[in-house]
């Protein structure tokens, strides 16, 4: 983690970027915070259930500290003092304990941060292929953007698509400096980010893997139809696609939010046989409708 992303002031809060408490020195005359009283600490119902479900999975409830903080950060956008208090009251731990955990891990933020995370890998393999230039471009593009948190990250485990970034958890690469603007456009447009460069569509590089011919290049944005092959039956896929093999399971809540645009997909496939250019527009329309 570089300090660059985290230290940028985020003036989205009504009272300015400085949240009371975090920047003040500790008052040593006060007794340390104890385990918050559940009766006095209201917790959003969904969050409480999620934390309790996590605690039930382990022999020791403390094991749920990381899942619980993930859940709280999901709700509040960062591990705010209130969020930590709420987790502490559900888990019956001290806020100090949870703060010690939250500050150890790079994915938790104890300062306010924008909701969208762009982690740019700047480790060896990525930097050999231009990650530092991309990171600069990404920082410059997101300058003043209050919704995007750009952070340089250590190896994200995707050196095969170097230089790469993780945009809200979605791995994209290989990137060039022009992609910085496109990532922001896709984020603000609510579209899947750089879909033609997403890791989930990448084939294995090993020539011994697929019996058919192997395409090492990433699928082309203009000509490739992007379809998730999730949920295919045992017959598999008859069409030659850029190589998605991962069925992405959606939770019921997500499905309610994003109903499957079945009809739109059919039309779009029909359109694809006639005019690939039109299909591109059609697919993005379908995506917008879906969301």
């Amino acid at each position: 983690m570089s300090a660059t992303g985290r230290r940028r002031p985020v003036p989205r809060f009504g009272h300015g970027s400085r949240v009371p408490g975090w920047d003040d020195a500790v008052d040593l005359t006060k007794p340390p915070a104890t385990v918050p009283d559940p009766a006095l600490t209201p917790v959003p119902p969904g969050l409480k259930e999620e934390i309790e479900a996590a605690m039930a999975k382990y022999p020791d409830r403390r094991s749920a500290a990381i899942p619980a903080l993930h859940a709280a950060q999901e709700v509040y956008g960062w591990c705010s003092p209130e969020a930590i208090d709420q987790v502490a009251s559900v888990m019956q731990l001290t806020p100090a304990y949870l703060t010690s955990v939250a500050t150890f891990y790079d994915m938790f933020s104890t300062v306010p941060k924008p909701r969208n995370d762009v982690y740019v890998c700047t480790n060896i393999s990525c930097s050999l292929l231009g990650a530092d230039e991309f990171f600069e471009a990404m920082l410059a593009a997101a300058e003043g953007d209050l919704d995007v948190n750009v952070q340089s990250f250590e190896c994200l485990g995707a050196c095969d698509i170097a230089p790469m970034a993780s945009v809200n958890g979605e791995y994209v690469g290989p990137l060039d400096v022009d992609d910085a603007e496109r990532i922001l456009e896709d984020l603000h447009g609510g579209r899947p980010v750089l879909e033609h460069k997403q890791l989930r569509y990448r084939r294995s590089a090993d020539p011994g893997v697929p019996e058919e011919e192997t395409d090492f290049s990433s699928p082309d944005r203009e000509t490739t139809e992007m379809t998730d092959t999730a949920g295919l039956g045992p017959e598999g896929d008859t069409e030659d696609r850029p190589g998605p093999t991962a069925a992405i399971e959606m939770t019921t809540a997500q499905l309610e939010e994003h109903p499957e645009p079945e009809k739109a997909t059919d039309e779009e496939e029909h359109a694809a046989t006639q005019d690939p250019g039109e299909a591109e527009g059609g697919s993005s329309r379908a995506m917008e409708e879906g969301q």
């Binding site: 955990v101 060896i124 095969d160 170097a162 090993d206 045992p234 069925a247």
Partner: protein, 440 residues
């Protein structure tokens, strides 16, 4: 021969129907027909060595677990954070059931009823896929009470981390799984005796556990025919950096490294030459282009003064400076050091500062000697090997590219229009000269 990447791009392989159609979970049925001792002896015969970095034989690790009725745990280490490594990611994303089957078989062999997968927090898609696969396996009765009518009962919990390299270290991982900061523990006691929740714990890498179904299918002795005598089987190697076709390649251990880098990964870009390469992730001492004919297996790499590590080859060509790579390595370990042991916490930070002094033109060739001595003082002096993991590659770079680094020092001093050599105060003498760079 493909065992782990066998037709891995088949659509829908991450779902149970496709995996079963390809013979999935048949190894589990076969294993449950044997006694746990027979399964263990198969794993022993296979001689499969840990694929996570240390290369410790898996069968022997299982045999260290005490017998008896106490709570025992199995933790699958999916916190794949070693720079250059991305093999587990592809296995979990595309063939999660192979890993789950391996975990169930291993838990049967070791008499373990509670198992966990600790996956790094950044692998969000892979975690979702695994979660769905676990639910499928539970519904089909491959995980749970009295699996397939046998006496074996086990549970599997997926645990997402939150971004810390140190949690790939086995005891740091245990602390993190217990909900603490991921600080490594003093060893002994080793996790096999006292690990998760103070119980005996078996910790294996994703790739190691994913190999188990193939071992049971083939039989341990037949599996051991693959590879070399001491490095049996196949290994997925992640090749990245300055090569034309970066990616995961499954090889039989013992093939020449040249075949791996040139034959499979396409070699360096046209007009460039390999300068040096990491054979096993950024923690392994670097090898040069003269070492390309060394067989790629555990013992040959150790004999060459490096290590196979996690099986991640990073290739650096002649257009890049050694100093830039050393800076990246040092910055990574300085950031990821958990801060518990002084030699690692201070050593990684000072090494980074010394390298930055070279860049800013403040260094003298003497600094290279100090840097080498710092590395020597880190190695073997900490609870875990994170510090060693920086000291070994940095030490090897200073040793093998000393003349280039000396030239770099001179050039930077000229660039900075620095003072005469004598005016530079060596590091440690005056603190204000220790380098102005804060480290985070």
């Amino acid at each position: 021969m493909k065992l782990l990447l066998d037709r891995i791009d088949e659509p829908g392989l991450n779902t149970l129907p496709v995996y079963e159609r390809r013979g999935g979970y048949q190894s589990l049925r076969k294993a449950l027909d044997m006694t746990p001792e027979e399964v263990l002896s198969n794993i022993m015969d296979a001689g499969v060595r840990g694929r996570g970095g240390a290369g410790f034989p898996m069968g022997r690790k299982i045999s260290f677990l005490p017998h008896g009725d106490m709570d025992k745990y199995l933790v699958c280490n999916a916190d794949e954070s070693e720079p250059g490594t991305f093999k587990d990611r592809e296995i979990m994303q595309k063939n999660p059931h192979m890993l789950i089957e391996g975990i169930v078989i291993a838990s049967y062999a070791a008499g373990i009823s509670r198992t966990f997968i600790y996956i790094r927090g950044e692998y969000a898609m892979q975690a979702d896929i695994l979660e769905a696969a676990i639910a499928e396996a539970e519904a089909a009765g491959y995980i749970g009470e009295r699996i397939l009518g046998s006496d074996h009962t086990m549970s599997l919990v997926l645990h997402r981390g939150a971004g810390a390299y140190i949690c790939g270290e086995e005891t740091g991982l245990l602390d993190s799984l217990e909900g603490k900061r991921g600080n490594p523990r003093l060893k002994p006691p080793f996790p096999a005796i006292e690990g998760l929740y103070h119980g005996p714990t078996l910790i294996n890498n994703v790739e190691t556990l994913a190999t188990v179904p193939a071992i049971i299918r083939m039989g341990g002795k037949e599996y051991a025919e693959l590879g070399t005598e001491t490095s049996t089987g196949t290994k997925v190697v992640s090749v990245s950096g300055d090569v034309q076709r970066p990616g995961n390649y499954e090889i039989e251990l013992g093939i020449p490294s040249r075949e791996l880098i040139y034959g499979l990964a396409g070699g360096p870009f046209p007009g460039r030459e390999i300068k040096f390469w990491f054979p096993g992730g950024s923690s392994s001492p670097v090898l040069t282009k003269d070492d390309l004919d060394i067989p790629y297996d555990f013992d040959s790499m150790a004999k060459a003064g490096s290590m196979l590590g996690s099986g991640a080859v990073i290739v650096i060509d002649d257009t890049h400076r050694v100093l830039d790579v050393a800076l990246k390595v040092a910055k990574f370990y300085a950031h990821e050091s958990c801060g518990k042991c002084v030699p690692c916490r201070e050593g990684t930070n000072w090494t980074l500062k010394m390298l930055q002094r070279i860049e800013s033109g403040e260094a003298t060739p003497m600094d290279l000697d100090i840097m080498a001595s710092v590395q020597e003082q880190i190695i073997g002096n900490c609870l875990c090997v994170l510090g060693d993991a920086m000291a070994m590659p940095i030490g090897s770079m200073v040793e093998k590219f000393r003349s280039e680094l000396e030239a770099e020092i001179e050039a930077a001093r000229e660039r900075a229009e620095g003072a005469e050599l004598d005016d530079v105060i060596p590091i440690g003498v005056a603190d204000e000269h220790a380098g102005p760079f804060p480290v985070h």
